[in-house]
C-alpha cells in the first residue's frame, strides 16, 4: 500500500478550485462590493470573519461526526479525519478571534465584549485547543484515537449548553451600549460577496483537509518502513 506522491489529480483540482475561489473572493471583497455606509472600509473584514466562523463551526461538527464514526467502527481513517478537521477548525477559529476585535474596535469602540457569540467562539476554541493538546500528550496511537474521539463527542454535545448558558447569563448582566448593530440589512452585492467567501473558505478547508490526510498517510508509511528496516537489522 504505497501512496504515490505525484499522482493526486483530485487533490490538484481541489487546490486549483480553492485558489481560483480565493482570487475571486478577494476581488469581490476589495473591488466589487460597495463600501458599507456607516462602518466604512473596516466592514470588509466581515467577509473573512463570518465565513471563517461558519466553516470553523462546521469543522467542529465534522470532528463530532468522525469521532462517533471512530467510536462505532474503530477505523484509523476516522481518527485521522477527526484530528485533521480539529486542526483546521482551530486554525479558522483563531482567525475568527483575531479578525473579530479588529472589526469591533472601530465599530463598537471596544476590542472585546462578552457577547454570546464571541464568548461561545472563545469557549469552543478552548475546548478544541484542549483536544489538540490531549492528542499531543498521548503516546499509544489507539488510545489516543479513542480518547480524543470521546472528547470530540463530549465537546460537541456541550456546544448548545454553553450557548444557552452564556445567552441567558448575558440577558441578566447589563452590557455596554454598542454603536451600530451587527444585524443591519445586507445589500445584494454584499450577500454575493459573502457567499463567494463562504465557498472559498469551504474549498480551502477541504483542500487543507486533503493535504493533512495525505501527510498523515505518508507519515504512517514512513513509520512502517522504519519499523521494517529496524526489524531487518539495518540500524545497528
Amino acid at each position: 500500500m504505497t501512496t504515490k506522491p505525484n499522482k493526486d489529480t483530485a487533490g490538484g483540482v481541489l487546490n486549483g478550485l480553492a485558489l481560483i475561489a480565493m482570487i475571486v473572493s478577494l476581488y469581490m471583497v476589495f473591488l466589487y462590493v460597495p463600501t458599507e455606509a456607516t462602518m466604512g472600509d473596516v466592514q470588509r473584514i466581515f467577509y473573512f470573519h463570518v465565513p471563517l466562523a461558519w466553516v470553523s463551526f462546521f469543522g467542529f461538527f465534522l470532528v463530532f461526526v468522525f469521532s462517533v464514526g471512530y467510536l462505532v467502527r474503530a477505523n484509523k481513517k476516522w481518527d485521522n479525519l477527526a484530528a485533521s478537521s480539529a486542526e483546521i477548525g482551530v486554525l479558522y477559529c483563531t482567525l475568527v478571534l483575531v479578525t473579530g476585535p479588529i472589526w469591533a474596535k472601530p465599530v463598537w469602540g471596544v476590542w472585546w465584549t462578552w457577547d454570546p457569540r464571541l464568548t461561545l467562539t472563545l469557549v469552543l476554541w478552548l475546548i478544541y485547543i484542549a483536544y489538540l493538546m490531549l492528542r499531543h500528550y498521548m503516546v499509544d496511537p489507539e488510545r489516543k484515537a479513542t480518547f480524543s474521539a470521546v472528547l470530540g463527542v463530549v465537546g460537541f454535545i456541550d456546544v448548545p449548553l454553553v450557548y444557552f448558558s452564556i445567552r441567558w447569563w448575558r440577558t441578566q448582566h447589563p452590557q455596554p451600549v454598542m454603536a451600530g448593530g451587527e444585524d443591519s440589512g445586507l445589500e445584494d452585492p454584499m450577500v454575493f460577496t459573502l457567499v463567494a467567501c463562504v465557498v472559498a473558505f469551504m474549498l480551502l478547508f477541504f483542500a487543507l483537509l486533503r493535504h493533512r490526510l495525505r501527510h498523515q498517510a505518508f507519515r504512517e508509511e514512513l513509520d512502517e518502513l522504519h519499523d521494517r528496516l529496524e526489524h531487518e537489522g539495518h540500524f545497528q
Binding site: 479513542t146 474521539a149 470521546v150 454535545i157 456541550d158 449548553l161 452564556i166
Partner: protein, 221 residues
C-alpha cells in the same frame, strides 16, 4: 451492575477514610483559594454577598480538580487499572462507582467549606439553606460527571494530572455558570433561578449518560 457500583464505591470510600488524601488536598487547596480571594480583593460584606457564589464555585472547581485527579491516579499507581479492565463487570458500573465516590468527596469538602466561607466573609447563608444544598449537589454531579470521565483519560497522558483542568474547565462552563447563579439566588441575590435550575438538571442528565456510555471505550485496552 449494582454490585459493581457499590463495590467500587466502598473501595474508594474505604481508601479515603484510611488515607484522607483526596479530602485533605482538595479541602486545604479550596480554603487557600478563598483566603487568597480575601487578600487580593479585600471585600466588604456587601460585595462578598454579590460575588461570594462565584468565589465559592472557583474554590470548589479547583479543589474538585485535585480530588478528581486523585481518583484515577490511585488506580494507576499500583496498576489497579488493569484490574478494573479485567474485572468481569459492566464498565458503566465501574464508572458510576467512581463517579459517586467523587461526588461524595467533593460534597464533603463543599459542606465544610461553606460555613467557613460564611464566617470569613460575614455572609448569611441560612436564608434558603435546603435550596443551597440542593444546588451544591446538582452542580457537583455535573462537574464530576465529565470530571470522572476525563480523570480516566488524563492518567494515560504524558502530562498526567496537568491536563485535567485544561480538558475539564471549558466543558464545564455551563454547569459553573448555572451553579454560580443558583447559589447566588440561594444566598439571597436577586436572580431568576428557574432557567438555571433546569439547565443544571439537563446538564447532569446529559453528561452522566454520555460519560456512562463512553466510559467503556476509555477503559478498553
Amino acid at each position: 451492575m449494582w454490585r459493581a457500583i457499590t463495590t467500587i464505591l466502598w473501595k474508594d470510600l474505604k481508601i479515603e477514610l484510611r488515607t484522607k488524601e483526596a479530602f485533605s488536598a482538595s479541602f486545604v487547596f479550596s480554603l487557600m483559594v478563598l483566603v487568597i480571594f480575601n487578600f487580593t480583593l479585600d471585600l466588604t460584606t456587601e460585595e462578598a454577598m454579590k460575588m461570594g457564589a462565584g468565589f465559592l464555585w472557583i474554590a470548589f472547581a479547583f479543589g474538585g480538580v485535585l480530588a478528581l485527579n486523585r481518583s484515577f491516579a490511585l488506580e494507576r499507581d499500583e496498576s489497579c487499572i488493569q484490574g478494573l479492565q479485567l474485572a468481569p463487570v459492566d464498565r458503566g458500573g465501574v464508572y458510576l462507582g467512581k463517579f459517586l465516590a467523587n461526588v461524595i468527596f467533593m460534597l464533603i469538602t463543599e459542606l465544610i467549606l461553606l460555613p467557613l466561607f460564611a464566617i470569613f466573609f460575614n455572609v448569611d447563608i441560612t436564608g434558603r439553606l435546603p435550596y443551597l444544598v440542593g444546588v451544591l449537589v446538582l452542580g457537583t454531579v455535573g462537574f464530576s460527571s465529565v470530571g470522572t470521565l476525563f480523570s480516566a483519560i488524563a492518567v494515560h497522558t504524558r502530562m498526567r494530572e496537568v491536563i485535567l483542568p485544561i480538558l475539564l474547565l471549558p466543558v464545564t462552563v455551563p454547569v459553573l455558570i448555572a451553579a454560580v447563579e443558583t447559589t447566588a439566588y440561594a444566598m439571597g441575590a436577586d436572580v431568576e433561578p428557574y432557567f438555571w435550575f433546569r439547565l443544571l438538571v439537563v446538564y447532569d442528565v446529559i453528561f452522566v449518560t454520555v460519560s456512562f456510555l463512553t466510559f467503556g471505550s476509555i477503559l478498553q485496552e
